[in-house]
């Protein structure tokens, strides 16, 4: 409930810390009335769609993965699927499993980084991970151990921890050995102990209580916790094929941001771990459901601060799925396959996957083997309007606090979304009004 006050509050945070990229928080309350409440995205546009144009489709995933050093596998996956859908390529079962395994690894890598390095310092009252390492070295060592397993899994599947090179249109150009996969399976099984300790740690931490209902959107497919393609599904009802993504994202320009905003059936919507958990809860691995019960998070949750807790539930889920997929691949044995051939050299295709921060779309038009048109819709850009809507709802409820406390509450809210600002500023036309 909004607090009645005639107070003036001015908050101006330049370069919000512990997020990827550069953003400012600007809040202005005059005589108790909220006049301005912006998350200003000030990073320069990066023109990736223009970089993709007039390039051979085989280069697209390698260029697109450079959009982000954290979700490079997601960008490569969406890019490859867009090319494959455009050129009529059907993947083998082994390639589908390896692509999923690579995404599981990236989800683990990114979620562990976010939970431990970016959010835990706030919840433990530390300025950053470095003072945390001084006072709680076991916590940080655990994070590094888990992150190393995830990073090594990425490197084993796709040839490199960041910016995958072995994933190509039609499949893979290189395969992990069974020895390598086996060892990683063992390490993931052992990692469960660290995961249990992580759940124990976060169970004891107090997350701010704030609730605002919004629309939640994620990919959905029957029988799995969907991370590649499927149908775009809304918590407000309705589902759409990925080719209809523009009718869901409805991007628009705002004056204070070099990243576009998005809206669907309400003024804004949320993508990411909490949206996935709400849309796909029934498909979580039983161990992940147990984690959710321990952490008291359910599909009814509407507290954006709990996105981090949803990420922890997903960390359990993706660990278990990675163990399962490795087990399945080993049982069948890794078979050397040539990438599946294209059936035409022109076409139009959309690729979609769940990146750590939410649903990611790549859309290409290909002619004579070259990318003619490209459009990439990034999760953080979809979340920005929702973050601002949360801020506008939160500020009147905490306006009686000190400016430092209000600033911290807003910083923690934005960090909970794990925004990847550099990713989001990629649009071609910027028109400040």
């Amino acid at each position: 409930m909004a607090i009645q006050t005639t107070k003036d509050v001015k908050i101006n945070v330049h370069h919000l810390t512990r997020v990827e990229g550069h953003g400012n928080i600007v809040v202005n309350v005059r005589e108790g009335i909220l006049e301005q409440c912006d998350l200003q995205i000030i990073e320069a546009p990066r023109f990736f769609e223009a970089l993709l144009r007039h390039r051979p489709y085989e280069h697209a995933s390698h260029i697109a993965s450079r959009i982000c050093g954290i979700c490079a596998v997601s960008h490569a996956t969406a890019s490859l699927r867009a090319c494959e859908n455009a050129l009529g390529v059907e993947l083998s079962e082994q390639s589908v499993l390896l692509r999923k395994l690579n995404l599981y690894a990236e989800m683990l890598d990114s979620h562990i980084l976010h939970m431990y390095m970016l959010v835990a310092p706030d919840l433990l009252g530390k300025g950053s991970v470095i003072p945390l390492a001084k006072t709680d070295p076991d916590v940080v060592l655990r994070a590094l151990r888990m992150k190393k397993v995830a990073g090594d899994l990425c490197a084993t599947i796709s040839g490199r921890h960041t910016h995958p090179i072995a994933m190509v249109v039609g499949g893979f150009s290189h395969y992990p050995s069974e020895d390598e996969l086996f060892r990683l399976g063992e390490r993931l099984v052992i990692m469960r102990e660290d995961l249990d300790d992580t759940v124990e740690l976060f169970k004891g931490l107090s997350v701010p209580s704030f609730e605002r209902e919004t629309e939640y959107i994620a990919l959905q497919k029957e029988g799995e916790y969907c991370i590649i393609e499927g149908m775009i599904t809304s918590s407000d009802g309705g589902s759409w094929p990925i080719e209809a993504y523009q009718s869901v994202t409805n991007e628009y320009i705002v004056p204070h941001s070099t990243a576009k905003h998005a809206r669907h059936q309400r003024e804004s919507y949320m993508v990411g771990a909490l949206a996935r958990l709400k849309i796909n809860y029934d498909e979580l691995h039983p161990r992940a459901k147990t984690t959710a019960e321990i952490l008291k998070i359910s599909p009814k949750c509407i507290n954006p601060y709990l996105i981090t807790i949803a990420q922890l539930v997903e960390t359990t889920h993706f660990t278990e799925k990675a163990i399962e997929v490795i087990g399945g691949l080993l049982e069948k044995g890794i078979v050397w396959e040539e990438p599946r051939p294209i059936s035409k050299d022109r076409g139009e295709g959309v690729g979609a996957c769940e990146a750590p921060r939410g649903t990611l779309y790549h859309h290409y038009v290909i002619g004579d083997g070259m990318i003619k048109e490209a459009n990439c819709i990034i999760p953080t850009a979809q979340n920005l309007a929702n973050i601002e809507a949360d801020m506008r709802c939160l500020v009147p409820n905490i306006v009686d606090r000190t400016p430092d406390d209000i600033t911290l509450a807003l910083e923690m809210l934005i960090r909970a979304y794990d925004p990847c600002i550099s990713c989001s500023t990629h649009m071609l036309e910027v028109r400040f009004v």
Partner: protein, 184 residues
């Protein structure tokens, strides 16, 4: 059947030697030297570290137990803290306000970095070199010896070409590092 048992049965079937690489848990220092180049070879003189590294690769004079790696900020923690090298030699462009191509060698002091960083750390996302050193120091994961070679750049614009004075420094720094590597 538990997953642990499953992997155990797979082990029996294929008789593979399996051991979980537990280096971070046990923190046993190994005896190798890491030569780590930082910087972006697409940004002119900022790529001098990588140029020295490539020159070392071509030199054929590397003693056994030397690992050469290139990385950016996002890989620093993995490269510097995860493998427990005995010694790390870091090569990078450093702005010192001196003539381009001038280089320095210095040893990082232990037990001083954390306190320096603790006062001022407002980490954005990736940690920079000093912050990674502070993190490693706090966690007792740093190599026993850390040597830094810094080369003064002339310019770090867009493009892969280095300035003449910095190109000249590459060969000199490579030779000094080769000497240092073969001393121990």
């Amino acid at each position: 059947m538990s997953d642990r048992t499953y992997f155990g049965s797979y082990l029996g079937k294929h008789t593979m030697a399996v051991s979980f690489p537990d280096c971070v848990k046990t923190a046993q220092p190994n005896t190798d030297t890491l030569v780590l180049a930082l910087g972006n070879p697409l940004r002119g003189d900022d790529g001098v570290g990588v140029a020295v590294l490539l020159s070392l690769v071509d030199s054929c004079g590397l003693p056994p137990g030397t690992t050469l790696r290139q990385c950016s900020l996002s890989g620093l923690i993995d490269e510097l803290l995860s493998e427990h090298y005995r010694r790390a030699i870091i090569i990078d462009a450093i702005e010192m306000g001196v003539s381009p191509g001038t280089w320095i060698r210095f040893q990082m002091p232990h037990d001083e970095v954390t306190s320096m960083v603790l006062e001022s750390c407002e980490a954005l996302h990736d940690l920079n070199l000093v912050e990674v050193l502070a993190l490693g120091e706090a966690l007792h994961l740093l190599p026993l010896e850390i040597v830094v070679y810094g080369i003064q750049p002339q310019e770090a614009g867009w493009g892969p070409t280095m300035s003449k004075p910095v190109q000249v420094a590459v060969e000199k720094v490579k030779n000094v590092i080769l000497e240092e590597l073969s001393d121990r």
